[in-house]
């Protein structure tokens, strides 16, 4: 939560020219900058009425605390000191200020430090003194004098000029806070405004938090989203981690990485959330992975194309369709001629109205048979005894003559009957033959040339689509790999290559390679070029063979990729050093789509400046987006400046040769041994002594900030 404990709303002394702020402007600034606590600290005057107006204007969005910026005499000149009161005790504060200032003109106020003693209730106010490079600043000895004058219950904060300095003071466990000291409400300096890591609900909580009160810290921490991790083995206990930055630190060989892996194993099995483990030793591999080429099968979409599977399949199965067979024309011609001929045969329309009457013939045959049998009859009678020989001879002559006449008649009748039958049968056969010839055969509608052409055009269009894709300009996507000091942003330029000419070292999916792809491109070209040439069939047969040989089913395997690491201009190639690769790998990992990250020594080898200016802000930003981090670290920039809700300190005690595990946080500034086998430790002391860049950095900073 953003807190501004130093702001002016009125021109109360001569030096104030543009401090006035209307209630509407006040509300606008508070809302726009998301300020949740603000103290009104005008110079040497507490304007109660204005305080109430401004408080009421933002009562739904922010707490407004009463306060004053006093000019004090520290013994060696004028100094500025802010006193902020609990709003609950505004009447008391108002009265105390009146007592202190009497009727002194604000421009003439100069309160002796000793006058402050016992004016304000220690529990109801806090003191903030100008420090470091601020004007009217307190010097170190003057702060010490002030602390001697005030009671031990009084809380004194140092106010430096910027938030970085404030962070450093906090690193040193020095209470420090900075306010806007706004001089123009149109230019409210929101970048100066600090954020409280733990959200406080009132002045009292803030004060307790500032005193690192265990109860308030635990209460506030309990309000933070967290998750439990059950670690078996010899730890055998639950650890609480927050949806924030959690730190695991300790000396070498104390089992930090082992614990980190155990945490990962547990979360991986027991949490629905996606968990990522990263060990800095693998950063090289991680970097190579991040720049490695992967095919997603959708590369063709970058060229507004389909995957051309249909076109390729059509080419593979293409056959020039057959033109109309000449036999169809021949048959048509033959049948047509036959019809014309058959139309000339009138007999096909012939019909026999009279039936052939063969009953006469049959009865004649019967009569002949009977007459013929007469000869047997008179031979049986034995005419020799009945008639004379002469009469017998005459009878036989007549009989034979009649029989002969009978036979002649039979022959005539047979020929007559059966010749007509034969005639009719012959005509029937001929009629059938002619009718068969008359069957209609339609004239072919097309010789097939147009279809032949259409076939060709269709396949040419498909070839053209493939050819067009190959002739497209190669495209590239960019992915930011991260930032490197002095080099700026580094990008991965991911080229997608459909036109491999003049491009070296292209990677293709499967067992494709540039030589094969070029063969296909050349073959598509030559086939397309021969579209209307006599060698088209040979060309397309070659292309089909290539498609089959290389198992081409769509365009994917003919699209290549090439990844290049480049500078911001996306043109200048840049090969990162080993350390830089680590920076970039880490930058990529923390952006991956996971909910919980377990990072084992992520900042090893990275400069302090890079960690504090790039990595830490990035982590804080990602935390606000809902990601959680458990970081094994030796780095003070991470371990201290992240102000972790949970710190696990692992210690190996050389005297009793035993391992100890502590839990704690910087808000309470205490680390507790989890099995109560040791006395609690001061969080800041351990952080300074264990974390790299700790003690040395603190000493250096002391010099920088004039504190010996």
């Amino acid at each position: 939560m953003k807190i501004d404990l130093h702001c002016h709303t009125d021109n109360t002394v001569q030096g104030d020219t543009n401090r006035f702020c209307s209630t509407s402007k006040f509300r606008e600034v508070i809302i726009e900058n998301n300020i949740e606590i603000i103290a009104i600290t005008n110079h040497n005057k507490f304007l109660r009425k204005r305080y109430e107006e401004l408080k009421n204007a933002v009562t739904d969005v922010a707490q407004v605390w009463p306060g004053i910026e006093l000019t004090v005499d520290a013994g060696d000149g004028e100094r500025h000191m802010i006193i902020v009161s609990s709003p609950k005790h505004v009447d008391e504060f108002d009265a105390n200020v009146a007592t202190l200032l009497k009727d002194i003109n604000p421009d003439d106020v100069s309160i002796n430090l000793k006058e402050l003693k016992e004016v304000f209730n220690s529990s109801h106010v806090i003191y903030i003194v100008h420090y470091h490079h601020k004007t009217k600043k307190f010097y170190g000895s003057e702060v010490e004098s002030l602390l001697e004058i005030l009671s031990s219950k009084d809380l004194v904060f140092l106010e430096p000029t910027n938030i970085t300095s404030m962070g450093i003071f906090l690193d040193h466990n020095m209470r420090s806070i900075i306010g806007s000291d706004v001089t123009d409400w149109d230019k409210y300096p929101v970048e100066k405004i600090p954020e409280l890591r733990l959200k406080v609900e009132n002045f009292k909580s803030f004060r307790l938090l500032a005193t690192k009160d265990k109860r308030i810290v635990n209460k506030l921490l309990a309000e933070q989203d967290n998750f439990k991790v059950r670690i078996g083995s010899f730890w055998n206990r639950d650890f609480t981690f927050y949806n924030d930055i959690n730190i695991l630190f300790g000396g070498k060989g104390t089992g930090k990485s082992i614990l980190a892996k155990e945490i990962y194993k547990y979360l991986n099995v027991n949490e629905d959330k996606k968990v990522r483990y990263f060990n800095s030793e693998k950063s090289g591999v991680q970097y190579e992975d991040s720049i490695s080429i992967t095919f997603n099968g959708n590369e063709y979409k970058k060229f507004n194309s389909s995957n051309l599977s249909n076109e390729i399949q059509c080419i593979k199965s293409w056959q020039q369709s057959n033109p109309t067979s000449i036999k169809k024309y021949f048959d048509w011609g033959e049948k047509t001629t036959a019809k014309e001929l058959s139309d000339k045969f009138s007999f096909i329309n012939m019909a026999f109205e009279e039936l052939i009457d063969d009953s006469k013939y049959l009865s004649f045959i019967e009569a002949y048979k009977n007459f013929y049998s007469l000869k047997d009859s008179y031979e049986i009678i034995d005419l020799d005894e009945k008639i004379s020989v002469k009469s017998k001879e005459q009878l036989e002559q007549v009989y034979m003559a009649v029989l002969e006449e009978f036979e002649d008649s039979i022959n005539d009748i047979f020929v007559n009957v059966y010749s007509e039958k034969l005639l009719r049968k012959t005509i029937d056969i001929m009629k059938r033959a002619v009718l068969e010839k008359k069957q209609i055969v339609s004239k072919p509608e097309t010789v097939g040339f147009y279809d032949f052409y259409t076939d060709r055009i269709n396949i040419i269009e498909k070839l053209q689509k493939i050819k067009n894709l190959f002739e497209s300009n190669n495209v590239f996507e960019k992915t930011k790999l991260g930032e490197i000091e002095f080099k700026g942003e580094i990008f991965l330029r991911k080229e997608i290559i459909v036109n491999p000419k003049n491009v070296k070292e292209i990677t293709y999916s499967g067992d494709m390679g540039k030589v094969k792809v070029n063969k296909i491109i050349d073959c598509v070209d030559s086939t397309y070029s021969s579209a209307f040439k006599s060698d088209f069939n040979q060309e397309i047969a070659s292309l089909k063979e290539l498609f089959e040989e290389y198992k081409i089913v769509n365009i994917n395997c003919l699209i290549g990729r090439k990844n290049l690491t480049v500078l911001e201009d996306l043109e200048t190639l840049y090969e990162p050093s080993k350390g830089e690769k680590h920076m970039l790998a880490l930058n990529n990992i923390i952006l991956e789509d996971y909910d919980i990250f377990i990072l084992d020594e992520p900042t090893v080898g990275l400069g302090h400046e890079y960690v504090s200016s790039k990595i830490l802000p990035q982590l804080k930003k990602l935390v606000r987006q809902g990601k959680s981090y458990i970081i094994v670290t030796h780095d003070a920039n991470i371990g201290v400046r992240s102000l972790p809700y949970q710190s696990i300190y692992m210690q190996y005690d050389n005297t009793d040769k035993d391992f100890y595990v502590y839990e704690g946080n910087p808000f309470e500034n205490t680390l507790y041994e989890i099995n109560n086998r040791k006395e609690p430790l001061k969080w800041n002391f351990i952080a300074q002594s264990v974390l790299e860049g700790g003690e040395v950095a603190f000493i250096e900073r002391r010099k920088i900030y004039g504190k010996e």
Binding site: I326, K327, Y329, G333, T446, Y450, F532
Partner: protein, 108 residues
């Protein structure tokens, strides 16, 4: 050398390679022939291919020529004439399509 737009198609009777008699529509050496005695569509494809190749660059009309010698069966002459008539219609259609296609291409 610029080719003539008219392609002659001679209906002739001749000895085939295997020595048998055959009647063919002979479109000349540049194009090929169609035999009435051999239902070989590859010949026709080859003929079409050769015609299409030239049709891209120019108009083509097939003109039928029947020699004095008697062609048997006699209906083949009618068949050949009908074939050429239809082929000419399709050549014209394809040529129109080709013109449209290439004009469109130039405009785009």
């Amino acid at each position: 050398m610029e080719k003539n737009n008219t392609v002659m198609c001679n209906l002739i009777s001749r000895k085939s390679e295997d020595g048998t008699d055959e009647v063919v529509m002979d479109f000349g050496d540049d194009y090929g022939y169609i035999s009435f005695n051999d239902d070989d569509q590859e010949n026709i494809k080859s003929l079409f291919n050769n015609i299409l190749k030239d049709l891209v660059d120019r108009d083509i009309t097939i003109k039928m020529n029947v020699p004095e010698t008697e062609i048997k069966p006699t209906f083949i002459k009618d068949v050949a004439e009908e074939y050429v008539k239809q082929l000419n219609i399709e050549l014209a259609n394809v040529k129109t399509h080709l013109n449209e296609r290439f004009n469109t291409k130039e405009e785009s």
